[in-house]
């Protein structure tokens, strides 16, 4: 029976109360372990289409008569458009239309960051559109930008009121401590840099606006475009067949969609608006920089008595205040805690969600501080974490739906034990060491998400759900689940996604939520179809129904079909659904040059039942490799005086290549969460990137004794930390 519930919905660490209609999820979970299909390695079902270059991405969408748009953006961190004349651009060769401030959502005259959109031109070719942009007559009033996050906090320039957490008595906890660590950590701004840039193609078909877009949320784009243009949502059709990566930056339509829609309306022609790679570096969102100041107290046996933190997120001109304090609040059982998080509003490009926003940054600070504590108390870092393990949600007794972090620690032991052998391979100038870090994150998904399935007389099935596969392999995972439930080969399941006109609502691909949200709905739809087939068989064959194959049972249908529907049931009430893990990193540090090489990372994660071990290991490797980039090489650089963005190309912004990749060992606990859905599966997209930076920094401490305090760990930062460690040991020797 359909049931209207009020439930807490979590996306990327943001919670909101929503009304949702759910069907009770009556299916029993399958037993743990590999099944016929689920739990066994499966190559992705759209792999050939993508590898052969046949898959149609938004970048490949082409319609006859299609025009190309280019966007005029602020070249200044803070400026006001005093005068704007689009007429010279409109008169340029090939130009078919121009729009200015107020003509489309997000185009404006008050520019609060470099890259803020002001106006747009469309022409027969992209070259003509870009040439015409240069002819726009614009006069800027350049204003003083606010760029320093601490100054912004002091001045009260905030995105939202400061967020605080308080439990127990922090001051008393600090007084009870035998050892206290005070440490400040800084993380940098990093960019998603999906290979397919942000882009849309819009065309009007009668009164329906078709939006072909590279998105992580077909239904979010539909709703936002409908709201902005005052259209009934069903008059907006959003299509995303294949998608070239997002990592959190493509959850909303973006100005490029609104520009394409408005220019398409005015010209009566299809319009493409695609960001260039250089625009991608200023106008597509980023993971914000942070400053994290920790005060952590513990007894001599390692028991945490106080956790304190002040966090400043350099949010930029727009965005939200990600949970940098999340790991400190959620990871360990400590009765006394106090934190304040500020979101600095600055004249810098906006923050957008980026693969475990807040938790990547916060885990670096927290887990490095914890290792400093372990060093102070002369405790084994792994043992320190075990002693502070939280058996229920810290600060309360709310249970976890499942938690196998202790098992992760156990599985990490052989990797951790390698440290003696690794250290022994050090030379006079290259020091080696091993470090670890724990991981906590969301990833349970939630309702609503829906799926349809049709089974034909040839016993082949088509799953229809208007989700998007952003490259994670969700399309393959749901095919495996449908095949398992129906008892047919996975090759006999086709999955149709990415079209709001031709499938039911499905969740956004963010918060590691797509598979745990959509796959249970797909299983429910397949079970619905299976029940109908069984009922049909009993009517035809009576007690002998079980003796006939699916093909025989369905063979009588001809062109008729069995249609099943399914929806995602509710999450368990009164329980906290989270993912956990631990990573162990091995590094080599050249103490003369400051060069850091990551040689090996072992990743042990608990994400419930693993549907596709092959795809899951790819997600782990991908997360770790992005984490290595975040830790060692990636940074958006800004001129501190003007606010100009200095890194706008892929040679200036250094992402890992194949030559930078360490040996990666993936171990997944693979125990279904018995409380969560008909599958017991959680998401694996984000967890693997979370502990990488801390594990590497802790390995550096193990190797050299140096405390790294800032990302990326450039040679300068490494040499600074080494010099500081040397000075510290000199002082200690002098004191003796």
């Amino acid at each position: 029976m359909a049931r209207l519930i009020r439930t807490e919905k979590e996306v990327e660490g943001r919670n909101e109360e929503v009304w949702i209609v759910v069907d009770e999820d009556a299916l029993e979970q399958w037993p743990a372990g590999p099944r016929d299909v689920v739990g066994r390695p499966q190559a992705r079902n759209d792999g050939h289409a993508r590898a052969r270059g046949e898959a149609r991405y938004t970048a490949d969408v082409h319609f006859p008569g299609m025009l190309h748009a280019a966007v005029l953006r602020s070249p200044h961190a803070r400026a006001r458009v005093k005068r704007l004349d689009l007429a010279p651009a409109l008169a340029a060769p090939g130009v078919r239309g121009t729009i200015g401030p107020g003509d489309a959502p997000e185009l404006g005259t008050e520019c609060e960051y470099e890259g803020a959109p002001v106006a747009a031109v469309c022409a027969d070719s992209l070259g003509e559109a870009r040439a015409a942009l240069a002819l726009v007559d614009v006069e800027w009033e350049v204003l003083e930008p606010l760029l320093d996050p601490d100054e912004a906090v002091a001045r009260g320039s905030l995105i939202a009121p400061p967020r605080t957490h308080e439990r127990g008595d922090f001051e008393r906890g600090l007084a009870e401590a035998d050892a206290v660590v005070e440490a400040t950590f800084r993380t940098q701004t990093v960019l998603h840099n999906s290979m397919e840039t942000h882009q849309s193609v819009c065309r009007w078909e009668g009164d329906v606006l078709e939006v072909y877009t590279s998105t992580q949320y077909v239904w979010g784009v539909r709703q936002e475009v409908a709201d902005a243009l005052d259209l009934p949502p069903d008059k907006v059709r959003v299509v995303c067949d294949y998608m070239g990566g997002g990592f959190g930056s493509k959850n909303s339509p973006g100005e490029y969609t609104f520009v394409a829609a408005e220019l398409a309306r005015r010209t009566g022609r299809p319009v493409r608006c695609a960001l260039t790679r250089r625009e991608e570096h200023v106008a597509a969102g980023s993971r914000n920089a942070t400053t994290q100041r920790y005060t952590i107290g513990a007894r001599s046996d390692g028991t945490l008595t106080a956790l304190g933190g002040e966090f400043v997120n350099a949010v930029g001109a727009d965005g939200w205040v990600a949970m940098t304090e999340g790991p400190m609040v959620m990871l360990y059982d400590c009765p006394n805690l106090r934190s304040t998080t500020y979101g600095a509003k600055l004249n810098l490009p906006p923050t957008k969600a980026f693969r475990a926003p807040g938790f990547v940054e916060g885990t670096f600070g927290l887990e490095c501080a914890l290792d400093e504590l372990a060093a102070k108390l002369d405790l084994d870092p792994l043992e320190l974490r075990r002693r502070n393990h939280a058996h229920s949600e810290p600060g309360g007794d709310r249970p976890y739906s499942s938690k196998n972090l202790v098992e992760c620690y156990r599985r990490a032991e052989p990797h951790w034990e390698r440290r003696h052998e690794v250290r022994a391979r050090s030379t006079a100038t290259v020091k080696r060491g091993v470090g670890m870090a724990s991981q906590v994150w969301y990833g349970g998904g939630g309702p609503p998400s829906y799926a349809w399935i049709r089974v034909g007389s040839d016993a082949r099935a088509t799953v229809v759900t208007a989700m998007q596969d952003v490259g994670t392999g969700t399309k393959t995972a749901v095919a495996m689940v449908a095949a398992e439930e129906l008892g047919i080969p996975v090759e006999h399941v086709t999955v149709a996604v990415g079209d709001s006109l031709r499938g039911p609502y499905a969740t956004l691909s963010a918060g590691s939520s797509t598979t745990p949200s959509v796959a249970p709905a797909v299983r429910a739809a397949a079970a619905d179809a299976k029940r109908q087939i069984q009922e049909m068989a009993e009517q035809r064959y009576g007690a002998n129904a079980g003796k006939h194959s699916l093909r025989e049972l369905l063979g009588v249908l001809g062109n008729a079909q069995i249609l099943g529907t399914g929806s995602r049931g509710p999450n368990p009430t009164g329980m906290t659904v989270l993912t956990f893990g631990v990573q162990v990193a091995e590094v080599a540090v050249d103490v003369e040059t400051g060069e850091v090489t990551v040689e090996r990372i072992a990743a042990v994660h608990d994400v419930g039942r693993v549907i596709n071990p092959l795809g899951a290991s790819s997600q782990v490797e991908g997360g770790i490799i992005q984490g290595v980039g975040h830790t060692l090489s990636e940074a958006r650089l800004v001129d501190p005086a003007s606010g100009d963005i200095l890194t706008t190309t892929l040679d200036a912004y250094k992402m890992p290549t194949i030559a930078d990749v360490p040996e990666i060992v993936t171990e997944l606990i693979d125990i279904p969460d018995t409380q969560l859905t008909n599958l017991g599966s959680k998401g694996i997209g984000e967890p693997p990137i979370i502990p990488v930076a801390a594990a590497i920094a802790n390995a550096i401490r193990d190797a050299t004794g140096a405390d790294v305090r800032a990302l990326p760990i450039t040679r300068e930062e490494m040499l600074r930390a080494l010099a500081e460690a040397k000075e510290r040991s000199r002082e200690a020797a002098a004191a003796v």
């Binding site: 992705r44 991405y57 892929l650």
Partner: protein
């Protein structure tokens, strides 16, 4: 081009990538940076991996161009799919073109050689370990 002959009257300044994607409709070749930094647009010109986004169409007159469309039945495609050496797949055609050039020169490249020769193809999803595996096992 991929074994066939074409004649074009392209304006001076047209890149090979533009010619492929917009004039011929061979959209398997992807453009991700359009300035020669990422390798997504890699094609073979007379067998050599070449960045089509910064190659002028005029420079390839009379030469042999092979794109991913010409390599669809190459065993490297299967090897990539088997090893799960792709996620979003946007860089994958370029990766495969580079990998084919590599194994044509050396059918059994060492790990170091793979890492050296493939370092010009960026994959933001981080499929690198599986790309290396695919290239090691490309013959099945």
């Amino acid at each position: 081009m991929n074994g066939g002959g074409y004649a074009f009257d392209a304006p001076v300044g047209t890149s090979l990538a533009e010619l492929l994607r917009e004039r011929i409709g061979l959209t398997g070749t992807k453009v991700a940076c359009n300035e020669g930094h990422c390798g997504a647009c890699t094609v073979l010109v007379d067998g050599e991996p070449t960045l089509s986004c910064i190659t002028l169409a005029h420079r390839v007159a009379g030469r042999e161009v092979t794109t991913i469309e010409g390599l669809r039945d190459h065993p490297m495609v299967d090897a990539f799919v088997r090893a799960d050496a792709l996620q979003c797949g946007f860089c994958t055609p370029g990766q495969i073109v580079s990998a084919v050039a590599l194994v044509e020169a050396d059918a059994h490249p060492s790990s170091e050689e793979i890492r050296h020769r493939m370092a010009g193809n960026i994959c933001r999803c981080g499929t690198y370990p599986k790309i290396e595996e695919a290239i090691r096992q490309w013959r099945g």
